[in-house]
Symmetry: C2
Subunit: 80 residues, 2 copies
């Protein structure tokens, strides 16, 4: 069965995010004052799996082994 | 009034995405065969604006002037 997973990967709370800080600063220079800027990455994957549970396990594995760094990232898997 | 905007930025359809292709390939080497891999960036911004319409305009401006490259990216603004 073909599954679509939407995986959101973001830095854990409290982690420094220099890229977001740079963007916030650049926006300020353009006249856009933001109280906060956060960023995250989304991966949309299509893959075959036997069941919904199996698909979740596969997506978990992909996150743990490649997509996210569990030390600094939180990830969220949504099967569509 | 404080607004929260969630801005999703992704490559336009048909644009080559070498980063996603590399991830797809790396997943394959780990034993995860994906039919397709797409990625997008999300920015979560908090900023002050007079009205909802004004907040949308501000977010549009930030996308056009900094966050997205309108030649290769599509963006989607959602006020929360």
């Amino acid at each position: 069965m073909l599954f679509r997973a939407e995986i959101t990967i973001k830095l854990k709370n409290g982690m420094l995010d220099p890229e977001a800080a740079t963007i916030k600063n650049a926006l300020k220079h353009l006249g856009y004052e933001c109280r906060s800027v956060k960023q995250a990455a989304i991966f949309k994957l299509e893959f075959e799996a036997d069941s919904r549970q199996n698909a979740t396990d596969v997506a978990e594995g992909m996150c743990r082994r490649l997509l996210a760094n569990p030390i600094i990232h939180d990830y969220d898997i949504e099967l569509v």
